[in-house]
């Protein structure tokens, strides 16, 4: 990357640093701002991070998966977007890969992620 491009991307460094560090396998709670007409409210969305894409770039996205009423739901969220209010790490998981697509097919015991103990 051209060093001059850093001038643009560095504007988001502060925002990136404001989020806790997390990786695939962690359960996070994302506070997403939702606009309804003129009103704005915050919706919480909790799930397992199954991938982080384009890390350390302005276009970084996270894919968060949760089971909602027995149906798997995945949301792809742009990490640095102003629509994301806050991210909390609920649980840290032990996983052996960076992309947890196997969770989509896994059922029952196989779909569990062990908690990482300090």
């Amino acid at each position: 990357m051209n060093p001059l491009l850093k001038i643009v991307t560095d504007e988001y460094n502060e925002r990136r640093a404001s989020f806790p560090s997390f990786k695939a396998g962690d359960t996070i709670n994302v506070h997403v701002k939702i606009k309804e007409g003129a009103k704005e409210r915050i919706q919480q969305y909790q799930g397992v991070v199954i991938q982080r894409r384009n890390e350390n770039s302005n276009g970084e996205t996270i894919t968060v998966r949760k089971i909602s009423n027995g149906i798997g739901v995945e949301r792809i969220l742009p990490l640095l977007s102003p629509s994301i209010d806050k991210i909390e790490v609920v649980r840290r998981g032990v996983v052996r890969r960076a992309r947890l697509f196997y969770l989509r097919e896994a059922k029952g015991k196989a779909a569990r992620i062990k908690e990482r103990k300090r």
Binding site: N2, L4, L5, V8, Y12, S57, N58, G59, P78, P82
Partner: protein, 207 residues
């Protein structure tokens, strides 16, 4: 039409202040450009301003051109471009930077030379759809152009028929790029969308 000469630095994305959406954007180095000639109606038959950008080695510039630069009181430049009907009054030897001409929120046009693609078929070059399928007895002409004309009348292929050939490496103009930000200390301009050409290639910006 005012304008400046610049260089493409590269692409990135930012989040819009208005709706929070991700906007793909291109960073351009714009200027400093030097006025190397002011053409007037009396002397040249039309009015225009010639700008120069990018320092060149003196040994790579012809002697007559070197004298042209000396007249303007500047070092040798790589790229010379003429702009007709410049909004500002400019004098010979004046230096222009991005913030002199462009403002945040302006819509500008960018002219560059697109990346060369080499010899390409009709699907890439002209957007043909190909033959359409792999079945119905089809096996080896999925991306072919199909028929290029009728038979004994006209008994020839019409001029300008779209066929394969050298693609890219052409002058391309992109209209209505919004200026998102200006960095005056580094002569940088951030515009929405993409700009033709490779990184470090020359771009002509028109307002």
């Amino acid at each position: 039409m005012s304008g400046l000469i610049g260089k493409k630095i590269g692409m990135t994305s930012i989040y819009s202040d208005v709706d929070g959406k991700s906007v793909a954007c291109t960073l351009l180095e714009v200027g400093p450009c030097v006025v190397t000639q002011v053409k007037t109606l009396e002397k040249d038959g039309y009015t225009a301003v010639q700008l120069g950008y990018g320092n060149a080695k003196e040994k790579n510039v012809t002697k007559p051109l070197l004298g042209h630069f000396k007249k303007a009181g500047t070092v040798a430049k790589h790229k010379l471009v003429e702009f007709k009907t410049f909004e500002k009054e400019l004098s010979l030897g004046e230096t222009l930077v991005g913030s002199d001409v462009f403002e945040i929120g302006d819509f500008i046009d960018a002219v560059g030379t697109s990346k060369g693609k080499g010899f390409q078929g009709v699907v890439k070059r002209h957007g043909f759809a190909g033959v359409g399928g792999q079945t119905h007895g089809q096996h080896n002409r999925g991306r072919h152009p199909g028929s290029i004309g009728a038979c004994s009348f006209p008994a020839r292929v019409f001029k300008g028929m779209k066929m394969g050939g050298r693609t890219g490496n052409q002058r391309v103009k992109v209209n209505n790029l919004r200026v998102l930000n200006i960095y005056p200390d580094k002569n940088l301009l951030l515009v929405s969308g993409s700009v033709p050409g490779a990184n470090n290639s020359y771009i002509i910006l028109q307002k």
